[in-house]
Symmetry: C2
Subunit: 302 residues, 2 copies
């Protein structure tokens, strides 16, 4: 297979585009997809301060690298989840990348700064660790960005992630989640703007990008996520993609283009009717926000 | 396992309800689901003349049987598709059922009445036989009902069928199809009302119903449908249902209850902008309707 652009030998093939790329043109392809996502959805401009949610995995490091390469002001925030050696190793990859690119990496550590860990929170609440983790991330990336004057939080959700989340939301017709599932979630009182510049690029492309750019990343899946429903949806979509390349992109992009707006009004209405958490000041439908309640229970148990 | 109602030994289990049933209470369960579908969606009343689209398979014969059992005026229409021995055998089951229940079975034969067959049409158009078959059925059931004074056409689409079609429509976000996918499609100029009274009952339930009621039916899948995309979606949903019983029903019912209306307006608009086929008078966006064009091409080739 040859590079679609220069006819040199291809090192990566992207089946849904029915195209191969040499190293340089593959990197350009990734840049182009990110540029297009950022442009089409008005994610941010040259003057904006972008906070990248950095896990140390392929997606967040590729995202950070791509944004820096495109000339954006992008700083990273690593959240220490307290998942033993997995977290230590993940942090090592994030810190090494920041040093190499001379970029700023901020850190928040759940144990040191908030008195709990994800495994502890999961045990205390008897709920899935992924639920506690997602809640902690959403809250802390948001509050860090607001407190430190960032214009937008960028996360490394790729095409595969977003398609799997969409499938889960569609299978249960979760109206509220469908209304909030979009490459851009605009700012609203108490919420910083959130964007997903990798939504046009697949998991395999992000792994190839890191390998070709010499970025070391955490290769392992999180040990606490094994067997969760999200991974089941990914498998299911992978089966479909094998039979019919391009299915995942058609599913996700079709939703963004033709269906999301039909659900968005409900979601916007939900955000308008929020009060303020009496512990931390975050928007919440109750008296104390879900993050503060989680932290309280996890601290007591721990 | 015992019958949920009378504690006698169960002969059928319905996993998504986490329930077993004895013979009599399983039949009542099926009747109840049909009664509920008919009632909730105002499908038809006691005075209405219902035309059942009868293929000779389990779903259409179970539907016909259930409607007769519930006291509805239900006549059958069998469409001869010309798929060799498969069609002959299917017709045999439909005719035997009609004789046994002393019910009226009408027939339309594609070859005798319209000069083509499904295999012939597929070859002539070089398109999937399922496409030609669906188009022929939609057109002919509709025109037969209009010409013979029926109030409504009832088809045997079950929960598994509808969920698989929905998955296909959602994976490509086919807005028009999503707007028309509902247990009831109301009448509009040139279109008879169409209903799917079995949408709350699964494939396995319909097979069990026929076995328990002693209804012989065409057990084979249509030989022309093997490997089509619809069957792939069914497999995919079956995998999901195995992991998480009730998924299929949650997917389909959730759509009907919470999402369909968001797509329905587009579909209604499309129906309002139709002209009249110059060959047959059916509603069409062009000069000649898709059915007449198919028939013409298939006749010439045949």
């Amino acid at each position: 297979m040859k590079c679609r652009v220069c006819r040199a030998p291809a090192v990566v093939d992207v089946r849904r585009h029915n195209a191969g790329f040499c190293r340089d043109h593959f990197v350009r392809h990734c840049e182009e997809q990110v540029r297009r996502a950022v442009h089409d959805h008005h994610m941010f401009g040259p003057g904006d301060r972008v906070l990248v949610a950095v896990s140390g995995g392929k997606d967040s490091l590729a995202l950070w690298d791509l944004l820096l390469g495109l000339g954006h002001h992008a700083e990273g925030l690593y959240l220490g989840l307290g998942i033993g050696g997995y977290s230590d190793e993940s942090y090592g990859h994030a810190a090494a990348f920041a040093r190499r690119r001379d970029a700023t990496l901020h850190t928040v550590d759940l144990a040191a700064d908030h008195g709990y860990t994800i495994p502890g929170a999961a045990a205390a609440t008897r709920r899935s660790p992924c639920g506690a983790c997602g809640l902690s991330k959403r809250h802390l990336f948001n509050s860090y960005a607001l407190d430190h004057g960032f214009d937008v939080v960028a996360t490394g959700h790729n095409l595969d992630d977003e398609a799997a989340v969409l499938l889960g939301n569609v299978l249960r017709w979760e109206e509220g989640y469908l209304g909030r599932q979009h490459p851009v979630l605009p700012a609203s009182p108490g919420f910083v703007k959130k964007v997903k510049p990798l939504y046009r690029l697949g998991e395999r492309e992000m792994a190839a990008y890191c390998v070709l750019q010499g970025i070391d990343y955490q290769v392992e899946e999180c040990p606490m996520a094994a067997g969760n429903r999200h991974l089941g949806y990914k498998e299911l979509l992978n089966d479909l993609e094998l039979r019919s390349p391009g299915s995942k992109a058609a599913f996700l992009f079709g939703f963004v283009e033709r269906a999301h707006a039909r659900f968005a009004e409900d979601a916007a209405g939900q955000r308008d009717n929020l009060g303020t958490c009496r512990e931390c000041g975050a928007p919440t439908p109750g008296e104390v926000c879900a993050f503060c309640r989680l932290r309280e229970r996890a601290r007591i148990a721990g």
